[in-house]
Symmetry: C2
Subunit: 331 residues, 2 copies
DNA sequence: CCGATCTCAGCAATCGATCTCATACTTAGC
DNA sequence: GCTAAGTATGAGATCGATTGCTGAGATCGG
């Protein structure tokens, strides 16, 4: 059980090291008879190849880092979960790297992953990605970003159409009869966050109503502040769109503390479609992002880039998910 | 920037490979003058040692796997977050491994980690841990479990005192005036889950009231079923203890769907103390587990076991966290 | 001033695999 | 039956580090 190297197996099978190696990684290069014999012996010994030694020699591995700012944020947790599976199915081993939003840690992961011969990596940022900084690293040339990036970027990206999501939310709310619809940003400086806000600003102005941003901070207290703001208004909106589900939770919670009920007194929508939202009180109406698809596509883009250098930008369609936190406006 | 090996640095510094190695990993064995020169050169080149090659040669690494069943469960996410930090501070690199509750995957991680020369690992299980199965693996002898395990086990463990937690919850509820207190299990077959349930059964019987288990399933729908059960009762309890925060969320949500309000109509308590609970509607009263401490201690126990074979079992104290989901019973 | 002790750095084997090259053995074609 | 073209396996260098051993100088006591 201890110290099972390729040489041990080779000896046990009465062949040379290199034949064992081939039996595992280049099956067609070895007579099927021999191969089966070797595999059987290996199996009996409980042998598996050392990923370390393999990576060292091959100068490439199957470790794929997923770099996220905060794993306690359910969005990233769901992303991690689905990507683990997606990676597995393609023969990769996802390595979850949590940065706490610290750029230094991100760089640390970059060099570490480079050293581990990761073929590529996926970054789900909490701030606008500095493409140039990325490119300073060798590894930065083999990264896919789950967010939009600036300009004519040469980094592959996956995002969902923020504008479309806001359209969906607005349409839903308007069809319910709302005309005064507020917004709470409360998420950090990613392009995606920016895009959602911009879309809200622009699209809500198109309706007769004037845009109303209850809070635009990016800290955990944004929801509470938004609620406070709401309570102090003379004519508060009858519906609120939150930049993401977590913020929506916070808003509803804070509102509830002051006796405001959702959706009876005010409708609230989220953006993300977290599984958690289904068990919120009330279950959250939201714009669903196809998180699983994002994960799969991120890996595909990475593989493509690695293969032929192509840099694609995929934009996915969001979807309205009506649950119970929205209803017609109070008469 | 590409292909920076120890030999490159050695050549650049005009010394032998082994001296460079020593400059990094055994500073006292090299003249400080030489060492500083080497370090400076290495710094300039942007050189870091290959963790792969190191692990291969040393037959030990700084990779520490944390094996959890589901990262979208906020309890495990918070554990992962705090443990990442704890590991970092001690010079380890936490590797998050998600099993989805699949024992085969767990075993896969075991052999993988063994192959990566991980010095030890941490397991946060979703089912009762089969100590014997654990011990079949070499690596199983270097694992710490975050849960209680059977019998005179030789596996180090960290847990919080389940009974004490239930006492805290019961005391809180009784001091509020509740006499009829129900319970919802809804979590999987860990010892901890079992202990909470047992404690409830025993302790609630001590009070005048008879134990009342609304649901004991372990799937995501337990909360909904418990709520249904509650609604069908002639004399429903005035308070409910949920086996963990997630279940409490689900119960409150399901209850809310039927017009039952918390805490006005019924008080509900959780168990875990998730950060998320503070933003639930209403903010959740719960029994807090010292998650960060658990992580730190788990690593300490692992190090100790590795050092001198000692096997400790640490039991931590939970803490009452009163928020807004409990109040006096309805008159 | 010489042998003994200590420091410090180089040498070379080694960890567990991969891969190019060389070699032995088939099989085929004429 | 003999050479040419394959096939299947073995030999050995290599990936990037570590480490026991060896030897060259430096230091020191007598």
């Amino acid at each position: 059980m201890a110290d099972l190297s390729i040489d041990v197996v080779a000896k046990a099978a009465g062949v040379h090291r290199s034949t064992v190696s081939r039996a595992f990684s280049r099956p067609e290069a070895v007579k099927s008879e021999t191969r089966e014999h070797i595999l059987r012996i290996a199996e009996g010994l409980g042998y598996t190849m050392s990923p370390l030694a393999q990576a060292l020699r091959r100068k490439t591995s199957t470790f794929v880092p997923l770099i996220v700012p905060d794993i306690t944020n359910p969005f990233f947790a769901e992303l991690a979960k689905t990507m683990t599976q997606a990676a597995d199915e393609r023969g990769y081993q996802l390595l979850l790297c949590v940065t706490n939003g610290d750029p230094a840690k991100t760089e640390g992961y970059f060099t570490a992953m480079q050293a581990m011969y990761a073929p590529f990596g996926i970054v789900a940022p909490s701030t606008k990605v500095d493409t140039d900084a990325l490119k300073r690293f060798d590894f930065g040339h083999r990264v896919v970003v789950i967010d939009r990036v600036d300009g004519d970027s040469s980094v592959p990206t996956v995002t969902v159409d923020s504008r479309r999501g806001i359209v969906l939310a607005l349409e839903h709310l308007r069809s319910l009869g709302h005309t005064s619809i507020g917004y709470v940003s409360g998420i950090s400086g990613t392009h995606t966050a920016q895009d959602r806000m911009d879309a809200y600003l622009e699209l809500s102005a198109e309706g007769s109503s004037t845009p109303l941003v209850l809070d635009s901070g990016s800290d955990p207290d944004a929801g509470a502040r938004a609620a406070k703001h709401f309570l102090e208004m003379e004519n508060p909106p009858t519906a609120i769109i939150a930049a993401n589900d977590m913020v929506a939770f916070a808003v509803i919670s804070a509102l509830g503390q002051s006796g405001i009920r959702v959706p009876e007194d005010v409708s609230v929508m989220g953006f993300d479609g977290l599984a958690l939202g289904a068990r919120f009180n009330p279950p959250l109406t939201t714009v669903r992002q196809p998180i699983a698809d994002m994960g799969n596509i991120a890996i595909e883009l990475a593989e493509k880039q690695n293969l032929n250098g192509s840099v694609d930008h995929v934009v996915l369609e969001p979807e309205l998910l009506v649950r119970a936190s929205t209803s017609g406006p109070r008469k």
